[in-house]
Symmetry: D3
Subunit: 254 residues, 6 copies
């Protein structure tokens, strides 16, 4: 028999997602993303040149920065993340992941020699901040690309496919989708999946914090995560539509 989840959800159900588009008015793309008690501000900035090491290749670049607000947790962190010292290993690991995930959504050659930076500022953290950064980051990216297109700076669509991410985990031998912090910290196994709307996989990261797990559990986790990602990409589409942007017209035809 199943114990109830901390927020009362069924095991295979996502937290309710809410996105406010245009929260920061000067950015090309801005999304305030809320999934239950996790809040991430994703900001896409377009720079009409690439970093020096990429110059002259005719290709663009997408990168990400991630930072926890000092009071994104129930207790204030004594020091601001990365202030006066290098960002923590965890922060760097996450921003590298977000960058890779969002680059997979874009045809960098079609993007042309420009860079898009996605800032992911976690304002409230209740688990799933890295997957939220990817899911919301894609929306911010699409908003920014729409701005570039409006200015006539793109020759055609540059997005390959919508990209989203979600976590799954085993808790008391039950498989649960989209873990909150309390679940995440207790999960025996924890897997983050980044995938496209059609279910193609971009990144899988699974860790057995406790005992190693049988192969078949990994399989079931990936299945459940792919379901969640399908739902998240459908939410992304609606949010963009409500901002007057048709995602389909931004996708490269195959």
């Amino acid at each position: 028999m199943t114990r109830p989840r901390p927020d009362g959800r069924a095991l295979d159900v996502l937290r309710p997602v809410e996105m406010t588009v245009g929260f920061q008015r000067m950015a090309e793309g801005s999304v305030l993303y809320r999934a239950g008690s996790t809040v991430v501000l994703c900001t896409a900035s377009v720079d009409e040149k690439v970093p020096p090491w990429m110059e002259g290749k005719g290709k663009g670049w997408v990168t990400a920065e991630y930072q926890m607000h000092p009071r994104s947790n129930p207790v204030r962190r004594e020091n601001r993340d990365g202030r006066g010292k290098a960002p923590s290993g965890r922060t760097q690991e996450i921003q590298r992941l977000v960058g890779r995930a969002l680059r997979a959504a874009v045809d960098l050659e079609k993007l042309g020699e420009r860079q898009i930076t996605i800032d992911c500022d976690v304002l409230e953290a209740d688990g799933g901040t890295r997957t939220a950064s990817i899911t919301a980051g894609f929306v911010a990216l699409a908003l920014a690309l729409a701005k570039v297109e409006q200015k006539g700076n793109l020759k055609g669509p540059v997005l390959r496919e919508p990209v989203a991410a979600v976590s799954v985990g085993y808790l008391n031998e039950e498989l649960a989708l989209d873990l909150v912090y309390l679940e995440d910290s207790k999960a025996e196994v924890d897997l983050n999946l980044v995938a496209t709307r059609s279910g193609a996989i971009i990144e899988v990261q699974g860790t057995a914090e406790g005992a190693p797990v049988p192969r078949r559990e990994i399989d079931r986790m990936i299945d459940l995560a792919l379901n969640g990602i399908r739902d998240l990409t459908s939410i992304q589409e609606k949010v963009l539509a409500s901002a007057g942007i048709s995602l389909e017209t931004m996708l490269i035809e195959k």
Copy 2:
């Protein structure tokens, strides 16, 4: 004859101020402050102990941290403020100012051995971010103190008087209140004033960026700024009231 201001205001009028209380749900005090195109997120965190160098004195402490979001400006800053290195001189100067200003609002002995940290995260910057941090920081502080009081951890009021801050400046020989960025960067003289509701002065910082200015201009600037501060403290009071908090009952009687 007077040239119009960039946002159409009269010379002696504040930008419209809007505050959203409780924006971050885990913090004791949280205010999202908008004054025109300047947006600051002020977050007050209560720690039930003081820093080591203050222990055993029976007094509390109020301190502040300030950070610009990398996309708070029309163009993204290449590096996050203070990431991987010490915060800039400007950032440190501002957070020291905000800390001093808000400490002046509190009777530290009555506060008891606890520390309140005010995080000031600038999400959009159109001039006046340091004065906004003080004005909004006072509201966050009052919210946090109300929380401490509700828990029964205070023996009585600890606030001396409401505190707010505003900038004034000379532009083309005209005196203007609450400068936006475009004005601030062109002002011949620029003065920030921190004062109480009753007009007592906590801090005055005036700089003639161009030619030195006659004494009487400083006088006129202080007069105008005190008018602005009176209006701002009245807005603070209304915002707190709308959150169910009566500021008057939080003030130490004189």
Copy 3:
């Protein structure tokens, strides 16, 4: 038809592995690990206390540090990894992974309040340095635990199961085991697997550098990697036996 691999191996065959036990004579556990042209020096150090944040819990800790020698590549790196600045994000990501992987091999409560640090110094790098660090790190860990046991400081076995790691990848639509650098840099998909001798999974990290990949390719990659890990754990056992250590007697009985 299959193109030959850079080092002539079949697609499903590991590089030849050679381990020199006791390379550093002062360390409790020391292994010089060579797999083709990848050489990693793994050194296990026992500290008879745990870090401050773990004190008094009656549990031990296993952690890892990773560093690339400046001339582990065909061209010397201009700067030593992490010298005068924080280690790179990649370095931190790897050492966190190695630490998690090796902690999974140990029952931390049975280990008691002591810490084992595994230093992984890459002397030559031809792909697979993070998986080599885990596979060799396990041997160094077992050597160190044997030393602790000989001193009579353990009450019984503390190892759960041998742990090893390997990479797999898709190249030109062919699946290959244990990629060398040339393959790794061209792989469309790249997956690192950490698992036990019996095939239970500790960590899976897969990244599609190019186009996202169908679910079934991930499945095939995990299958191939598990084969490789079986072979690696059998090599670990032989190396330990040749050093006079019976791995079986060090394992906790289930």
Copy 4:
């Protein structure tokens, strides 16, 4: 009735000032400044180019660095100011202030594309080190400009007006000029003023460390400080004259 000041001065009297010109023999301008027990070594260095961000604008630049000697206080500071880490917020705040103050003394366009750096090394600190840095810094600046002129590298005068600075404060409700450390640390209000010989204001910074203060006290403080500055500029003139430099001929005519 008035309590005596720690050094016996009347409330409205400056400390005796002594300046040794040419203390460091290789510098274009060098002044060892003593005001009572405060000693600052001000060194002006001319660089015949400007920083990269100012190149090509046809304008010069004046900047300052400030450092406390580790034994400028009764007890040695454990660490040298800014060694191995960024200079403290206080240090940065002061050197930014000194730079602004001395730039106000110069017509940067007439200065031409060269930079003058004023190093302010505090050898003994008994209050008023930042105002001493400005007052002495102006003399070092004038000496350096005289050197540049002697080499025939200036087309005419570049100084607008002599600049000096002084502190004032309220102690036990009495207003005092030029505070020593003991007074400064006890002052209820503390105001630093930077102004020209003719009484035009460049910078005013006033802070009520204790209770906020009425507007009229600020007014009285500025009046007293302006008196002190008049005296200090007269001392500057004499010191320069004794070094064979006529300040009047270095001033741009109005």
Copy 5:
């Protein structure tokens, strides 16, 4: 009467030296050097350009880096040498010494505009790691120069003379050659000498840790050290010969 040395050697005898040439296969010159329980990995890397500050002078450069492995001592160092902060003063002092010593072995003009970097990684430390770095570093340097010559990139020999280094010290008033750690830490006087095969001196560094010493003891120490260096240069020659390199043909004729 003479007390025995910790490793049983006579007072004027070197530790047995063993060098493995080509330990790191990608480097132009690589030597694993063992002298008793001191083990240093010296790696010479050729860069076909010089640092910016040496460009265009038609001369080459030789430089060194030195690092202690965290477990080169009986107990693991808590932090990797120089990780996340500047290398220690001791490390910098040693690598500057090694660089100077090896530059003295080379005619930098004949070397031409290329840089050779000698990495000295101490894997085990039992005294004499700086002198071992020089003696082994010379062999790595010669191996690298032989590689450059084979490629036809040198017009003739560039080595002046073989260079080696050794320590001597007074222990209980007896003079001993090539101190191990236990001796070094107790020596009243300790002297490191860098010299050529023919006995010309490149560097002498002597320190009386206890009482200052009479002039004649310094003289005796230099004599003994020169004997040791003669033996070390003869070992260098044999090691190079066994690697198929005739040192004599690499020396500039006088």
Copy 6:
């Protein structure tokens, strides 16, 4: 025939030395040292406790810090030595040398559990700043010890013997004492000697910047340096006498 030296001295003559005692009035020992165009401010500070790693051993400690003023050279250094980063290797090497040299002058057990820090601030640099720091540092140390004695905190003398230091070098095959910068930068061999009044050697550091040198030249250099040191210790004695301090009574009897 001998070429004249840049400052006209004979080859075996020291620069004229001038010391101002008590330059910094708050320090226990303060000396402004001028030798020709080299000026060093040496400041001795007494701390009535030792660093944590020395506590409880009943011994004292003497340590040194060294810093170049940014304008101690004909051209200003762009960055202050060690500001915002670790002090340079050269700076660390020098301050370690000065510390060792001055510790040799003191019986640390007789000193008792207190630390004396010698700050060496180079105000003008014309060669020999490290030897000047030692020679002047000894005087500052003696002044500070006299202060400690006056307070009745010492049971008897703690100084072993006066200590001084000087450089010698070969220029155009001529041996010269006490090199100025122009000579030092051209010297083929350069040797710094630290010794006691009676000629016992504390430290010898000789470097052949050009070709290695025969043994007998090192001998002649040491002889000449010892002469210089005899003169310097006699100057130290006179300076202390003029400050009312009898050096002889401060020396431990042998």
